[in-house]
């Protein structure tokens, strides 16, 4: 019988889920890296098409919850091409009284340097590169930052791709300062039955076809859809965050639970 990957007790199991397939835990990281290497150049475009632009609204809500302020340091894990970090920096800068105060800073960390490269080379005036973000290739399970070194930790559509989620959550808490906050934006489970059926039909039929059309890579998007279904429910993921030592844990459903923002504080 295959192990239950959503079961925190089996976090150190030798197997991990890769979409609906079961692979050796050591292999998952490489497989996930291949997926993102393959889609990196058109990743942002693909997100727009898949969600009809809604992922931008979700990310905007995430930035609202972050409440960016001058002087704060953000670690955006799985930050890819840097869209969340860019919004964070721009919002912090536009705060009243931001002038003359030390600026906010953002570290974009991703296990895929191909994604970072796309973001870092971008010349878009509102992009993270132009706003002075830092770029580092690193693993959420082995974060290359000291204890208590950031004020905010975000991970958007990234935790699902981590092999040992519990380990990544403990690392998130470690690098946060006391009083710091963890926020995770991820696909989740739609809470309304009718929505769930429509969403299933869309994601299993439309998204792989769209992926094939835009990136010539159907398989990567089949993985994407399957990995969303394998991810723990809202309640279960909230428990995992609490088990990692976070306090004031909760979540907020977005678009009827198609996505959710989970949060916790290090106190």
């Amino acid at each position: 019988m295959p192990p239950d990957f959503n079961d925190p007790d089996q976090s150190d199991a030798a197997f991990a889920s890769f979409g609906f397939a079961t692979v050796a835990a050591t292999e998952k990281a490489n497989l996930v890296r291949d997926v993102f290497d393959s889609v990196a150049p058109r990743y942002d475009l693909m997100n727009d098409l898949m969600s009809a632009g809604v992922h931008r609204l979700w990310k905007s809500t995430l930035i609202d919850r972050l409440a960016p302020q001058p002087g704060r340091r953000l670690l955006d894990m799985a930050g890819g091409t840097g869209d969340v970090a860019a919004s964070f920096l721009a919002r912090a800068k536009s705060r009243k009284g931001a002038q003359g105060r030390p600026p906010a800073s953002a570290i974009i960390c991703d296990v895929n340097d191909s994604m970072l490269r796309v973001g870092k080379a971008s010349t878009a005036p509102a992009g993270a590169a132009a706003l002075g973000a830092m770029w580092v290739c690193g693993d959420a399970e082995q974060t290359p930052l000291p204890d208590a070194s950031v004020d905010l930790y975000t991970i958007s559509f990234g935790i699902r791709n981590v092999t040992r989620i519990e380990k990544a959550l403990r690392e998130a808490r470690r690098v946060l300062r006391y009083g710091g906050r963890f926020l995770c934006l991820e696909f989740s489970q739609p809470t309304v039955g009718a929505l769930r059926a429509a969403y299933d039909a869309y994601s299993f039929n439309v998204i792989p076809a769209l992926g094939e059309f835009v990136t010539s890579d159907r398989e990567s998007y089949v993985y994407l859809v399957e990995s969303i279904r394998r991810f723990p429910t809202q309640e279960r993921f909230a428990r995992m965050i609490a088990d990692a030592g976070f306090r004031r844990v909760g979540y907020e459903n977005l678009s009827g639970g198609v996505a959710a923002i989970h949060f916790g504080a290090k106190v």
């Binding site: 296990v111 970072l116 870092k120 580092v136 693993d139 290359p144």
Partner: protein
């Protein structure tokens, strides 16, 4: 500051670790695409041991003596993954240990 300046800056290197620190700069000055952000040199640690790193500017590597490995820097992006790190030989470890 936890980064030892392993190689004295040569004539080609024009970015010092203090150039963009503090000073309340609102806008970060643009860096050459292949140069590592000096603010990262200040903050990064070894992903495995969480111990400080040394910057080897000549080879463009970040050295973890504690883990006995060197992390490459590609296009200005430090690659802090254990499975992409280069194992140090004993001579190198001795050399980096000798540094203050």
């Amino acid at each position: 500051m936890n980064v030892g300046n392993v190689t004295p800056p040569g004539p080609a290197s024009n970015v010092g670790a203090t150039e963009r620190d503090g000073a309340g700069d609102d806008e970060a000055a643009p860096l050459p695409a292949t140069e590592i952000d000096p603010r990262l040199l200040e903050v990064l640690v070894c992903p495995s041991t969480k111990k400080p790193l040394s910057f080897d500017r000549e080879r463009m590597e970040l050295i973890s003596v504690a883990a006995g490995v060197a992390f490459p820097i590609r296009d200005g992006v430090p690659i802090m993954l254990m499975d992409e790190a280069r194992p140090l030989d004993e001579r190198e470890i001795a050399r980096f240990k000798a540094r203050p």
